[in-house]
Symmetry: none
Subunit: 413 residues, 2 copies
């Protein structure tokens, strides 16, 4: 009888790379000392993966949707719902959500600073948020949350909403904010609500004491909210519905949490978890073990530090982030390795020489103590090219993990 | 001009495996002495195959449809037509077919034994069959055949039949048999016919002398027929229609014969062919050679013994079954090897440690005396991971075989 196991997907964000001069021509995976990743490569199967397809550079959102088994062509809701969920807002099927910026406009709604100086403090953010969150426009309720600096997220809830609308941000200073346009008749209501919201945000914020003080300090007032990245929260089949399993996300970045929540994962918080190399690797390992022991069938564990180092062209920090991740993986394997099927990979390559996502395939290692190992002895872009998994697509990850973990029923009889 | 050859697909059912402790950590393919399979691996090309897809555990029916080039998502008719064809019943497009059980019910149609004690002898089966086969209900004719123990198959033929119906078997003793429900208006007639059939089967069987004798011997009477696995025989394009070739199946198990017949293969009987290790391997080899010499373009040769040993967790018997299959393959190659394109594989893995189908990929060897060999020298799960074929899907098998055998026309000019 097929034994059921927990499936653990470990994503080291942007960890895939090319040859790096500062590393003597090695990739960060090669240069890093990674006994545990190498062990799962040696005892398991390896391969390369085009998360989207050959030559396709994945975005973070589309990459993760693919890794979770959701074709982004059909299931990408736009950035708004993913960011809103990641920011802790309640978003549900039927809602339309946005990313937002605090910005600075003149009396005539000419944009002076698209980010209101960027430096909105958490304290200021809380005051601004309090003024906006909970508004009702016609029959639509507005939930708003400040996240970091000038950024926030917003959810509209009400009947007959649509994300088929245009922008309000002119994307240039010195220009007047745009009237949100409906791109289809069904979106006319939403465009009207957005226009009312933007105008109301200006009326509600411009005379705040907080903004007077900002101006006194020579800083641009946060006197309007510009919305972007509209997306409709669709009624997609959740992971639970598809596979009948309980799933959880352990991640530091809002987008990854939001994308995981969008497909129905529980967000498990870890004290001190951030998107940086200072994140609480030990705490993440402990919480992952706890999730496995408490009966979660599938855990998505995301480390962002590798990608940040890549964007900063910082090879040494990328190596360090991989090594810290490896130690974290070692702790998990030591405790619950014989109860797991593990797949470790990256969502895309962010070569330190480039500093941006590229289309290079990422290495993959798949491990369970019963799996047939291939001949590859360590996890790297070059080694994994010889692995028994061959060339995977992002959409293969979920079936591979859940198939070996015994959570997918036999197809046919 | 491309020489036309016969294509031979050899499926060792469930033969793929994982490391087996009793075999010193080898797989049965590795542990078995298989000079002929190794020769086709060495002189040909190898690879691994996810018959359905990464992480997907194939059923026997869906696996074979895929190997024959029919996407089970579109062409799986349900188990009924496949079993009926395999049992030798004539099933045609438009028919609705079922698997059936003889069962024991009370006067009030309460199920006492869902399998009527299991032990229906061939002689009893013949009497019961004679009573049922040939019935006509409204404008629908009923063909019925007893197969093994309590099992049988049934085909309904008439206008406007549908398989979109519910069950009659309550799947529990002590419960009354269910009224077959139509799940759509088009299925109302079929549901009515099924209900009439079940009720008539009870009236026709309950007072049989045979059943009185069973009761006297303390055995449950076979006094009703319960139907399950309804499926409509769809008008699918046959292999002949698709490729213009003559195809044949040589197999011991009803399901494999039925699936092959469903896509249009002729069933070639071999005396003494069974699903066990006692099957007539020599006779199978001889008949296969005969088929090739008599002009069949494509032969599907199926050995079930490997899977039976796997389900029984019997590593030694699995090794033996592979070795006997290898000797059989040697006989075929010796005689007609230079007139063939051969693909040897399994339909799925059934690891002896698990005893059930799993999602592990299966090894594949493709051989023709003109093909470019790769570096792999023997057929096993580990060796084939290095093969030139890479990672195949089940749907690649038919084009590969028929392409090299010269039966697929150039695509374009």
């Amino acid at each position: 009888m097929t034994e059921k196991r927990a499936a653990l997907l470990i994503v080291l964000d942007g960890a895939g790379d090319r040859r790096v001069d500062e590393l003597g021509g090695e990739t960060p995976f090669e240069a890093a000392d990674t006994p545990h990743l190498d062990e799962i490569a040696a005892e398991g199967q390896t391969g390369l993966m085009n998360v989207i397809g050959y030559g396709q550079t994945p975005g973070s959102d589309t990459a993760h949707l693919s890794l979770f088994g959701y074709d982004p062509e059909h299931h990408y809701p736009g950035r708004g719902p993913l960011e809103a969920l990641g920011a802790g807002l309640d978003s549900r099927p039927g809602d339309v959500a946005f990313r937002s910026n605090f910005a600075t406009v003149t009396e005539d709604l000419i944009v002076e600073d698209r980010r209101a100086g960027r430096d909105i403090s958490p304290e200021e953010g809380a005051v601004l948020q309090e003024r906006i969150d909970g508004m009702v426009i016609e029959d639509v309720s507005v939930r708003f949350v400040h996240t970091t600096e000038h950024r926030g997220a917003l959810v509209l809830r009400g009947p007959d909403l649509s994300a088929d609308i245009g922008d309000v941000d002119p994307h240039e200073t010195g220009k007047k904010i745009l009237t949100c346009e409906a791109y289809s008749p069904e979106a006319e209501k939403t465009a009207r609500i957005v226009n009312k919201f933007v105008s109301m945000s200006n009326r509600l914020l411009k005379d705040l004491e907080l903004n007077k003080k900002r101006v006194e300090r020579g800083m641009p007032p946060a006197n309007i909210i510009l919305l972007r990245g509209p997306g409709k929260h669709e009624d997609i089949p959740t992971i639970k519905k598809r596979y009948g399993i309980e799933s959880a996300v352990i991640a530091g970045g809002a987008l990854y949490i939001g994308t995981a929540k969008y497909v129905g994962m529980d967000h498990i918080k870890v004290k001190g978890q951030t998107g940086t190399i200072e994140t609480n690797f030990d705490g993440i390992a402990e919480k992952t073990i706890e999730c496995i022991e408490s009966g979660y069938d599938y855990i998505f564990l995301h480390i962002k530090a590798t990608d940040n180092a890549s964007h900063d062209h910082n090879a040494a920090e990328k190596v360090l982030a991989i090594e810290k991740s490896d130690a974290m993986i070692g702790k998990i394997l030591e405790k619950v390795g014989n109860r797991l099927v593990v797949l470790a990979t990256a969502d895309h390559c962010t070569p330190v020489s480039v500093g941006e996502h590229t289309c290079d395939p990422v290495p993959v290692a798949l491990y369970a103590d019963f799996i047939r190992p291939d001949d590859v002895k360590r996890l790297s872009e070059f080694d994994a090219a010889h692995g028994a998994l061959g060339m995977l697509k992002g959409s293969d990850v979920m079936p591979l993990l859940l198939g070996y973990a015994g959570h997918i029923e036999k197809y046919g009889a």
